[in-house]
């Protein structure tokens, strides 16, 4: 998520942004320090309310952009109950911004790959950071790859980012193993949130976990 935000912040006119979950609050942000966390969360909640109201009239709603005299605020749903909130200056090119966000989301594999070397170097990202690389090599690569594909079918383009974050958290909790995949499933279910989608995801990954010996 931090890589995604950094990429977006590089767009001319973008001051910064954050990824927000209504249940878990601000998950990541790179806004200047004058934007206090509590205030950003309150603003994000109002933006989500507005976004949700918009979807009742327009199910194909992509984003909502507010043009104030000094700033531009934009909100976009980038996953199930996961929102990207951006702040820019009035000259912000929103067409360029939309295109850049689409590309960044589609290229999230690249973002994960970019995160892996830093994780391997162990530069202050915790013991779990290296777990992101498990999907690329080793005995866990095959089941993890299939789990990520199943997640993408359930929640869409944010799957790679969410899966990478869950891998990192899993690796921070315990030594990743085939038998421990059920714990990863629990973490992913928490991220999915929606009970119906959780059931769908469980059904999709059950054969993978059985094959790996993680469940009976």
């Amino acid at each position: 998520m931090n890589e995604l935000l950094a990429e977006i912040k590089a767009i001319p006119g973008v001051i910064g942004g954050g990824v927000f979950s209504p249940e878990r609050g601000l998950l990541a942000n790179n806004l200047p320090s004058v934007f206090k966390k509590e205030r950003v969360e309150n603003i994000a909640r109002s933006l989500i309310k507005l976004h949700t109201a918009g979807t009742y009239s327009y199910p194909d709603l992509l984003d909502v952009t507010l043009y104030y005299e000094e700033s531009v605020l934009q909100i976009r749903e980038v996953g199930k109950k996961l929102y990207l909130v951006l702040v820019g200056d009035p000259a912000l090119n929103t067409s360029l911004l939309s295109l850049s966000i689409n590309l960044a989301l589609e290229e999230s594999k690249g973002l994960d790959a970019a995160a892996a070397p830093a994780a391997e170097a162990g530069k202050g990202r915790g013991a779990g950071a290296g777990a992101r690389a498990l999907i690329d090599r080793g005995p866990l690569a095959e089941p993890l790859g299939r789990m990520q594909q199943a997640l993408a079918k359930v929640i869409g383009p944010m799957a790679k980012i969410i899966f990478g974050d869950a891998l990192e958290e899993w690796g921070g909790e315990e030594e990743p193993s085939l038998q421990g995949l059920s714990r990863l499933l629990t973490l992913l279910n928490r991220e999915i949130g929606d009970p119906e989608k959780v059931r769908d995801f469980r059904d999709r990954v059950a054969p993978i976990l059985k094959g790996a010996g993680a469940i009976q």
Binding site: R39, K49, A53, L66
Partner: protein, 129 residues
């Protein structure tokens, strides 16, 4: 100040405006040429309330307008207009920035005209403007 019929006629002539909806701040629809006007008006009111809360939280000045971007390109723009809210559906081939500029200029002209005539909005109460 224009009657709502005059207002409708003028806003429909702004380049890039495909449909329009004028509502009071309480969501009562005054004039429109689109479907689902009541629901859109309610959404506009929520948009107005949320943008005001955000303005208060962030210390920003007034909202110029907001845009609901759609994958179908027919974006919906909402403009605060004193105690009213104006919503417009843009023609997909016209960039939203150009539509916003045109509508903002129209609103400025409307308010200037109102002020130069010395009349307050609502001077013709039955018209709602």
């Amino acid at each position: 100040m224009a009657t709502k019929e005059q207002f409708a006629e003028q806003i429909a002539r702004v380049p890039g405006v495909k449909n329009y909806l004028l509502a009071r701040g309480d969501g009562r629809v005054l004039v429109h040429n689109l479907s689902g006007a009541e629901r859109l008006a309610s959404m506009m009111v929520i948009g107005g309330l949320c943008s005001e809360r955000i303005r208060a939280l962030s210390g920003l000045n007034c909202l110029r307008y907001l845009v609901l971007g759609r994958t179908g390109q027919e974006n919906f723009l909402v403009f605060p207009l004193e105690k009213y809210l104006l919503g417009v559906v843009q023609h997909p081939e016209v960039p939203p920035g150009e539509v916003a500029q045109g509508v903002s200029a129209f609103i400025e002209q409307l308010l200037r005209s109102r002020n130069s005539n010395g009349g307050a909005p609502g001077s013709r109460k039955e018209e709602g403007l």
